[in-house]
């Protein structure tokens, strides 16, 4: 029987995949970033439909900021961010298409043919989920949680170190300093 939850999951899933396809079909990089934002937001709505309230809201908030930053970088780095010149920026399209279709079919085959066991009809309410997740984060999964935090910090420091311009030493100035 098709439930309202199944309808919502199907609708938001379809929207997410459609906007995911639009990301690679438009010539405008800004539109690509916005399409990815809509795709991820539809995914967040899908999480909400699956009663994962905390994860759904987190997904929408995180992706809104992440994709806005991505759009800014697109404008910064692209010669033609609006896509007015319709410049083609693809290569090995046939191979990529085959790889994408094969991976999709393989994943669907696994989803359909594997026996996933009994399905739970009810999930804990939103408040209980947050309590359980908080206890999980600060209990059994604390080491993983802390490792994730440290890894993000390390990535931020590494990215900043890579991104700052190299210091140009002036040999003449160095010689002058040495003479003094």
């Amino acid at each position: 029987m098709i439930t309202a939850q199944a309808l919502y999951i199907g609708f938001f899933g379809l929207a997410s995949v459609w906007f995911g396809i639009v990301v690679f079909r438009t010539f405008s990089m800004v539109r690509s970033a916005l399409a990815l934002l809509f795709s991820q937001t539809a995914l967040g709505a899908m999480f909400l439909s699956m009663q994962a309230e905390f994860l759904g809201v987190l997904q929408i908030m995180m992706m809104a900021t992440e994709m806005s930053i991505m759009a800014i970088f697109m404008v910064m780095f692209m010669m033609d961010p609006g896509g007015l010149g319709k410049m083609d920026m693809t290569h090995q399209k046939r191979l990529s298409l085959v790889a994408g279709i094969v991976s999709f079919v393989a994943a669907v085959a696994v989803a359909v043919f594997v026996d996933w066991g009994p399905v739970a009809s009810v999930a804990p309410d939103a408040e209980q989920q947050v309590v359980d997740l908080g206890l999980e984060l600060l209990g059994r999964s604390m080491l993983i949680f802390e490792t994730a935090g440290i890894t993000i910090l390390t990535a931020m420091i590494a990215a900043t170190a890579v991104a700052i311009p190299p210091v140009k030493r002036n040999p003449l100035k160095g010689t002058a300093n040495h003479e003094h």
């Binding site: 098709i2 199944a6 999951i9 199907g10 899933g13 997410s16 995949v17 995911g20 990301v23 690679f24 990089m29 690509s32 990815l36 991820q40 995914l43 899908m46 999480f47 699956m50 994962a52 905390f54 997904q59 995180m62 992440e66 930053i69 991505m70 970088f73 780095f77 920026m89 290569h91 090995q92 298409l97 790889a99 994408g100 279709i101 994943a107 989803a111 026996d115 996933w116 066991g117 399905v119 739970a120 009810v122 999930a123 804990p124 359980d132 999980e136 984060l137 999964s141 993983i144 949680f145 994730a148 890894t151 993000i152 990535a155 931020m156 590494a158 990215a159 890579v162 991104a163 311009p165």
Partner: protein, 103 residues
């Protein structure tokens, strides 16, 4: 198997396939990163669906989703760091031109 779980898994598979196509076909570094984001999004849908329909009483399922979100953030951070360095050095983030390490 419930129709809801099947729909979620098919959505995850489709996002994964679209992401693989994007990551392999694009020449711009930021567009490649968008493909990888879609691949990770596909994994995330599966994790949420598995938690909700197979083990809703085990919060470790949600923990996995948080880890995937962390990986997404790290990928963006490092990717943009590399993009800035590449743009400063070569004036472009086109990966077709990145043949410096080619043997």
């Amino acid at each position: 198997m419930s129709i809801e779980l099947l729909l979620a898994l098919i959505t995850g598979a489709a996002l994964f396939g679209v992401g693989v196509y994007g990551a392999l076909s694009q020449t711009n570094l930021v567009m490649i990163m968008m493909g990888i984001e879609l691949i990770l999004a596909g994994a995330m849908v599966n994790l949420v669906a598995f938690w909700r329909y197979l083990h809703p009483d085990n919060p470790a399922g949600q923990m996995f989703v948080l880890i995937v979100m962390t990986v997404m953030a790290i990928e963006m951070t490092v990717g943009f760091g590399v993009a800035i360095a590449r743009f400063r050095a070569k004036g472009s983030v086109e990966m077709e031109e990145a043949t410096d390490l080619k043997g």
